[in-house]
């Protein structure tokens, strides 16, 4: 096979996905049906949308920890807008745009202060959660009965696809195109892969940081809003564990912790791998806590395994060049 390194990487990850799927499909009959696959994709929508945004910030060599709180705010706002009589699409647009602007401001502040994004976003993680509680008046927001048809319109299926899974796939395609084919997208890779080199080559940090954080807030908001509308209600304390799942999807999909490496196709493969394992564990009859345990363990296994194999590869490469020279 004559594949470039990034392509070989994604083929390997896709093979892992197929392997995991086959093993679990052996046990779980539901996994072999189209509707089972559709359910798999539907369950991946929230994690997937959040992972797109978090993945972009990770490619930029940063990380947005505030996505869970942002998704909660978006869920509360979306339910409130629709309850107030705003139609579905304008409500979604308003929520996502607001979040994207807040995210852009967050990226701009991180750039202006030149502060570590992990430290800055742990503060906004707390603050946004508080805002979600305030907006919801500390209580769960539910759609009134006459608006429940909107919830149904989101959760319907045509074939194996639902509006939500179509949105997920479209979002992956759009952001994937943006990140790999446009100059602004390549800037995000540049500041993640080699920040010093990128800066001396004249890439400003401002635009990529603003775009990455705006996208991560916007995507988290889209996920939170869609999921809340589908379930007909939003709790301000919800979406607490989405960060773990999103980061897990990114890392399983080959996004490098140091930034600059990996892509949206990889995140999609990582997302599906994670969902197959988690849904597989769930449909084997394990209680809900086993699902968090599974994603936590999977994440630890994948990242340590990858780091160790990378170190071994590097050693072997070094040995080979050393013996070739000697």
């Amino acid at each position: 096979m004559n594949l470039s390194a990034p392509n070989r990487d994604i083929v390997l990850r896709a093979l892992l996905l197929v392997l995991v799927y086959l093993v679990l499909a052996w046990w779980v009959p539901n996994f072999r049906t189209p509707s089972g696959l559709a359910a798999l994709l539907d369950a991946a929508v929230l994690t997937g949308l959040v992972a797109i945004g978090v993945g972009l910030t990770m490619i930029a060599g940063e990380m947005d920890l505030s996505v869970g709180s942002m998704a909660a705010i978006a869920g509360v706002l979306a339910i409130q807008f629709i309850s107030a009589g705003v139609p579905l699409l304008p409500a979604l647009l308003a929520v996502v745009l607001t979040a994207a602007i807040v995210g852009a401001i967050q990226g701009l502040l991180i750039h202006l202060l030149n502060i570590n994004s992990l430290i800055f976003t742990i503060g906004t993680l707390i603050g946004f959660r508080g805002l979600a509680l305030m907006l919801a008046h500390e209580s769960t927001q539910t759609l009134p009965i006459d608006k429940l048809s909107i919830a149904d319109s989101v959760s319907g299926h045509f074939g194996v696809l639902s509006p939500l899974s179509v949105t997920l796939v479209l979002a992956f395609l759009a952001v994937g195109f943006f990140a790999s084919r446009t100059v602004w997208g390549r800037e995000i890779y540049a500041i993640g892969g080699g920040r010093t080199e990128a800066r001396s080559a004249g890439v400003s940090l401002r635009r990529p940081l603003v775009i990455a954080f705006s996208c991560s807030a916007g995507m988290a908001a889209l996920g939170g809003a869609l999921l809340s509308i589908r379930s007909g209600g939003a709790t301000p304390l919800g979406y607490n564990s989405v960060l773990l799942d999103a980061v897990a999807a990114c890392l399983i999909g080959g996004i490098a912790l140091r930034g600059g490496r990996g892509g949206l196709a990889g995140i999609f493969v990582g997302l599906l791998t994670l969902r197959v394992v988690v849904s597989g564990v769930a449909s084997l009859g394990a209680p809900f806590w086993a699902q968090t345990l599974a994603s936590g363990l999977l994440l630890i296994l994948v990242i340590t395994g990858e780091s160790i194999s990378r170190t071994i590869m590097r050693r072997r490469h070094w040995h080979r060049t050393a013996t070739a020279q000697g």
């Binding site: 508080g130 919801a136 994440l299 990242i303």
Partner: protein, 321 residues
């Protein structure tokens, strides 16, 4: 040490002063505007809240000083260890043995997390993942129900959870003792210097032959003892443990470290700053609670205080990462 003051000293004075002035200002405002604030009962409430957060924050400051930012697994670890302690006590292991088991498990958890941090190089992701594992284990061990301690002998042995030697809760004595001990450890012991130097510059420390990886492991072990102690005290105080007991602990402890002004670049700061931060957060929370602020308003304000503190200290430091 006295003759060669590190260059960050002026900044450290600013950091201490900022935390102290804010604390004093909050105390004065609260004291003058809220009569319920200046009562003995309220004093006890503040001190106890500060102690729980503070014990974790003091341990967390070692992680920060070792250059690993902060850990996001404190709450879930405390829940898991609390359930482990309660289950062991209910099973008739005896309180001293259960305490030993809990601390030993915490040390093991710290070693594991420290080792994974060394392998993958990212403390945040490591502790998020381990947090999920601990949360899962907590739900698994408790069967997601309350674990109550009924046994009279065990309850008698657990009386330290509600005791008040000299009118001050045991939790607070433990907090003061741990803060002093930690300050002493980081300033005067070899391990303390190893952690400080590895945090200040991992490359320089490694080049001088210091075991940098070991410093992360030790820092994570010290950190993990905080949730263990908090969990044991909590079970002793309420005679019960449940899986979702410590949901706000992470945020409060991280906020304490950040507001107290421990430098997030690593290699600077002291556990006393984290303790001061815990006191400040506890006073602020208590004041807001007495003023009738809702949970959302309180959380938003804490988040705002953290962002302002982090940005302010960062600017005072000179904007370097």
């Amino acid at each position: 040490m006295e003759s060669a003051r590190p260059p960050g000293d002026r900044v450290r004075v600013i950091r201490y002063a900022a935390a102290l002035v804010t604390l004093a200002a909050t105390l004065i405002v609260a004291g003058f505007t809220t009569p319920a604030f200046v009562t003995y009962d309220n004093f006890l409430a503040i001190v106890r809240a500060a102690s729980i957060t503070g014990i974790v924050a003091v341990g967390m400051s070692f992680v920060t000083i070792s250059g690993n930012f902060f850990a996001l697994s404190a709450g879930q670890m405390a829940a898991f260890l609390g359930i482990l302690f309660a289950v062991a006590t209910v099973a008739g292991l005896g309180v001293p043995a259960a305490i030993l088991l809990t601390i030993a498990t915490a040390i093991l958890a710290g070693i594991l997390q420290g080792m994974v941090i060394n392998v993958i190089g990212n403390p945040i992701i490591t502790t998020i993942a381990f947090g999920a594992v601990f949360g899962g284990l907590a739900a698994f061990m408790s069967g997601n129900t309350l674990i109550r301690v009924h046994d009279d002998a065990a309850l008698a042995a657990l009386r330290f959870g509600t005791a008040r030697p000299l009118g001050i809760p045991t939790q607070s004595w433990a907090f003061f003792a741990l803060a002093l001990l930690s300050w002493f450890a980081i300033r005067t012991t070899r391990v303390g210097r190893l952690i400080t130097l590895s945090g200040a510059s991992p490359a320089a420390a490694a080049a001088s032959g210091l075991p940098v990886g070991l410093s992360s492991v030790i820092a994570m072990v010290i950190f993990s003892c905080g949730p263990a102690i908090v969990a044991i005290f909590s079970v002793a105080q309420f005679s019960l443990a449940k899986a979702d007991q410590f949901s706000g602990l992470d945020i409060d402890a991280i906020a304490s470290v950040l507001v107290g002004g421990v430098a997030l670049r690593g290699g600077q700061g002291s556990p006393v700053q984290a303790a001061l931060g815990a006191l400040l957060i506890a006073v602020l929370q208590n004041f807001m609670l007495l003023r009738g602020l809702t949970a959302g308003e309180r959380m938003t304000i804490v988040g705002l205080v953290v962002v302002i503190a982090v940005a302010g200290f960062h600017l005072a430091q000179g904007r370097r990462r």
